[in-house]
């Protein structure tokens, strides 16, 4: 059985203003109907004007997705009635989208697979409906919040090249990473900045293809995978029993963890598309595209490959370090100051990422100097590795320099050879039997003497030094 999945993704852009008016586009969680104007609320007589940054963001994204950019594209009207659509039509690009024929590469096992992108176009978002109660079918009334009307979106449609729910999820995660690198979107599904609908079908061993099912209402990467897994199974069961599934739209239901038929919502609509007469066509030049191409940051895949190659770190590590631009930049800054790529990589992947995950931080709150200084303290023996790791959460939380924390907490490692020698000699005098045991071959007894030093110094002695001195003294 072969699974066939295609995705339709809507990405909210991080432009300052909305697609067709100068309202701020930063509408998340603002009081209802406070981020509006005559244009985005479809007042009689209002007209749209094009947000230039929106075009640039679209071209940037299309370039990063290896698309063909069209010098001529146009806006069209998609006509339908719904309370969250004030004009009774959505301004979108139907006939001539700004970009087509791109791809995004996914690592599948040892290979790189191209997931083709059919089209990428610009359109405006609709508002939000709040049904009294939670279900539209039981609500007494519905409230309309038009803040989101007119927020610029990019719609990305893939070819049905994805072959598993897991792959679909990774596609989305990769896409999100690219969008964040480009700084065109936050890509947060939880905040609605990235929305995804999927089309899924299964082909059996004889080549018979099931009906295609559209799956909606998945609002996190995890749920995309779960919903598609559920649907995949449902289809496979149907095929196995010799039947088929209905061609329909189904919604992911969080509570039952199943997909539920949304039939009734899915009537074949005739949107009566026609060119938007209020907006002249979008004509862009080669120079315009070149300029944007030049300003593109290094993208995740390129960076990952470069890190693996130039810093000699494993591919998996490179992937983690390049998961965000901020982290990758942090890593490179550290290596620039202290050229120890593998060590820095380890520190970041274990300590730093753990702290960031715990504090749910997206940004790296410490500077490269913090990490480098800590590493150097360990190198010079000022603190033990164990101590350094213990210090890390405090460095992360307070942003204090490691040296300062060592001072304040008196964590300096004991490196004084005389002190260590004295303690060991004392221990040797107190336990001549252990000395004899060591000398007669029981090397493990070394631990007793090391332990004695550690106890006396409250764990602050430099372990390597203790080991070295103890061994020397014991061997006589």
């Amino acid at each position: 059985m072969k699974t066939v999945i295609g995705l339709e993704i809507h990405v909210q852009l991080l432009t300052e203003t909305k697609a067709f008016c100068s309202c701020s586009a930063n509408v998340f969680e603002k009081a209802p109907n406070t981020m509006i104007c005559p244009v985005c609320t479809g007042q009689p007589g209002a007209l749209p004007t094009v947000n230039k940054a929106m075009i640039e963001y679209a071209v940037r994204t299309a370039l990063a997705l290896n698309c063909e950019i069209h010098r001529f594209s146009r806006f069209d009207r998609k006509n339908y009635f719904y309370p969250d659509l004030p004009k009774g039509y959505q301004i979108t690009q139907y006939f001539y989208p700004i970009a087509t024929n791109g791809y995004l590469e996914l690592d599948v096992g040892k290979e790189r697979k191209k997931v083709r992108i059919r089209r990428l176009h610009i359109e405006e978002d609709a508002g939000k409906l709040m049904h009294e109660g939670d279900a539209i079918t039981k609500a007494h009334h519905t409230l309309v919040d038009m803040n989101r009307c007119g927020v610029p979106l990019i719609e990305i449609v893939t070819e049905p090249d994805l072959t598993s729910p897991g792959e679909a999820r990774r596609f989305l995660e990769k896409l999100r990473s690219i969008l964040r690198y480009l700084r065109v979107s936050s890509g947060d599904m939880e905040k609605g900045a990235l929305r995804c609908d999927a089309n899924i079908s299964v082909v059996d061993e004889k080549g018979f293809s099931s009906n295609r099912v559209e799956v909606k209402n998945m609002n996190s990467f995890k749920f995309v995978e779960k919903a598609l897994q559920f649907e995949q199974n449902r289809i496979i069961q149907a095929l196995k029993s010799g039947s088929n599934v209905e061609k329909e739209t189904r919604g992911w239901d969080l509570t039952s963890k199943t997909t539920v038929s949304m039939r009734g919502k899915e009537e074949e609509s005739d949107y009566r598309y026609f060119p938007e007469p209020d907006i002249p066509p979008v004509v862009i030049s080669d120079e315009y595209i070149e300029k944007i191409e030049e300003s593109l940051p290094e993208l995740p895949d390129q960076k990952k490959d470069r890190f693996a190659r130039d810093y000699g770190i494993p591919k998996l590590d490179a992937e983690v370090l390049t998961s965000t631009r901020e982290l990758a930049d942090f890593y490179e800054e550290c290596v620039k100051i202290k050229p120890k790529p593998k060590e820095i990589s380890n520190w970041i992947m274990t300590e730093l990422l753990r702290e960031m995950k715990n504090s749910e931080s997206e940004v790296v709150p410490i500077s490269p100097r913090h990490l480098v200084e800590l590493i150097e303290l360990v190198e010079t023996g000022s603190v033990s590795i164990k101590m350094a790791k213990e210090m890390f959460p405090e460095i992360f939380a307070t942003k204090k320099m490691p040296k300062q924390i060592v001072e304040e907490r008196g964590l300096k490692q004991v490196n004084d050879r005389d002190v260590i020698e004295k303690i060991i000699k004392q221990a040797m005098e107190q336990n001549p039997k252990a000395v004899r045991q060591y000398r007669s071959g029981k090397k493990g007894v070394l631990g007793y003497f090391v332990g004695a030093v550690m106890k006396q110094t409250r764990g602050m002695a430099n372990p390597q030094l203790v080991n070295e001195i103890a061994r020397k003294l014991l061997e006589g």
Partner: protein
């Protein structure tokens, strides 16, 4: 006499009381004419070049805090939160807006009978229509209720009522005047234009309201001086007259005779007349009545009872939509929305809308060809004079009245109607059309006719006496 004052006349007067006088005239004549939906009794005197000059604005152009209805039940109590750009421009220059004039509902009509509230009467004969859709504005100007007015023109709605009321009506090149605040009917055809008692007034208003607007992406930056050459006459100019004018069966004989007279006058003034064929002109009305309703069906989708205007409460969304729009829109509006929805539907888009746009392009090219060889195209504005209220019932007959005016909208050309004579004591208008952005030339040609018309006195248009 207040009623005959032009903008230019007013510039030489003490203007503090002009608006008040206008309101007085309005109160006197409204029982007969009913040009106005809203009269602004309280108004401020703004300073500026045209301070205090009373002007009327068609009620499909938004005025902040003043009801703007489009003569429709669905916007009966709609108060816009913003001024149309043209209104801002007028106020900036000191004009006083004394009222909002009546129109065919949503500008869909040629008689102002399709207003949801009441019809307006023709000042020349109150049993007759003033034309439409800017009938209220034309009547208000012709009667002297106001000094000048703004209308909107989608298929002839400024020029035709101007013609039927014996005043000047000008439709600018598409893109010269901002549509921001003009409640849209057909986006690619609509233009706001002045209705005035003199050609020079039209030029003055054009200077006031034209200009690129950041709020309207379809406006262009053209610094046109509308007045500079306006008195320079037409000697040496070449005018084309489409033979299709004479082919039209419904052309009133009186109108035809006056048209020929005007052509002779042009020759006397040194211009050359050539008869030409514009083969696609016969498709103009059909193209117009595919494209305009299509765009309208989309532009009027926002009137759904959700956000503003009329809402007829019903249980369930679909029923609320249906009842609100059924009760809020008049018959003609509903007819055009249905037509437009049909021609945009997937099965018919290619055969109707797309085809019509292609024919539109062909027509534009033909007009352009003619206008490269000639300074202007001349036609009568309307094939008939003002008809009696209720006289024209058949929609198709009604639509065919746009036969000479629609081409200018389809091609985006500047066109004017200037009064030329009377047939059966009713005004007849001459239409002058030229190339895109040749608006100043159109005004200049019109001025020449106005100055030399035997039906004007000393270059001043004869105005009706309204018994009220």
């Amino acid at each position: 006499m207040f009623r005959s004052l032009t903008i230019e006349d007013c510039l030489n007067l003490n203007r503090e009381d002009l608006a008040a006088e206008s309101v007085k005239e309005i109160e006197k004549m409204e029982p007969v004419l009913k040009s106005f939906i809203t009269v602004c009794k309280d108004h401020e005197f703004h300073s500026g070049e045209f301070a205090g000059i009373p002007i009327a604005v068609k009620d499909n152009i938004t005025t902040k805090s003043v009801k703007t209805t489009c003569a429709s039940k669905i916007l009966e109590n709609y108060v816009p939160p913003y001024n149309a750009t043209v209104v801002e421009k007028l106020l900036l220059r000191g004009f006083t807006v004394v009222g909002k004039t009546n129109l065919d509902e949503f500008a869909m009509g040629s008689s102002t009978e399709r207003s949801a509230f009441f019809p307006t009467r023709n000042p020349w004969d109150p049993t007759r229509v003033p034309g439409g859709s800017s009938g209220g504005s034309a009547a208000a100007v012709a009667s002297g209720e106001v000094v000048a007015a703004l209308g909107s023109d989608t298929g002839g709605s400024v020029r035709q009522p101007a013609s039927l009321c014996g005043v000047v009506g000008f439709k600018p090149t598409y893109g010269l005047v901002s549509r921001y605040g003009l409640i849209a009917f057909a986006s690619s055809l609509d233009q706001i234009g002045p209705i005035t008692k003199s050609v020079r007034d039209a030029a003055i208003l054009m200077s006031a309201i034209s200009g690129k607007d950041a709020m309207d992406s379809t406006t262009v930056d053209k610094n046109i001086d509308f007045l500079k050459d306006i008195e320079n006459g037409i000697s040496g100019m070449k005018f084309a007259v489409p033979k299709e004018v004479y082919d039209y069966e419904q052309l009133d004989s009186g109108v035809a005779a006056l048209f020929d007279e005007a052509l002779k006058l042009a020759e006397k003034l040194g211009a050359k007349i050539r008869k030409v064929r514009i083969p696609s002109m016969k498709y103009a009305v059909a193209v117009y009545y595919v494209v305009a309703p299509a765009e309208a069906s989309s532009n009027l989708a926002r009137y759904d009872g959700v956000k503003y205007g009329l809402r007829v409460e019903e249980k369930g969304l679909k029923d609320m939509y249906k009842r609100t729009r059924r009760e809020g829109f008049g018959e003609e509006v509903r007819r055009r929305i249905m037509l437009g929805t049909f021609t945009l539907s997937a099965a018919y888009y290619e055969a109707y809308f797309n085809k019509a746009q292609k024919v539109r392009r062909v027509l534009s090219s033909e007009l352009d060809s003619v206008l490269t060889e000639n300074d202007a195209i001349l036609t009568p504005t309307s094939p008939i004079t003002a008809f009696k209220l209720g006289e024209v019932k058949d929609p198709l007959t009604y639509y065919l009245m746009d036969i000479f005016t629609a081409p200018a909208n389809l091609a985006g050309l500047p066109a004017i109607s200037v009064p030329y004579g009377f047939s059966n004591d009713l005004p007849v208008g001459l239409q002058i059309m030229s190339r895109r952005f040749h608006d100043a030339k159109v005004l200049r040609i019109a001025r020449s006719f106005e100055k030399n018309s035997p039906y004007n006195s000393n270059g001043r248009i004869r105005l009706p006496v309204v018994r009220a």
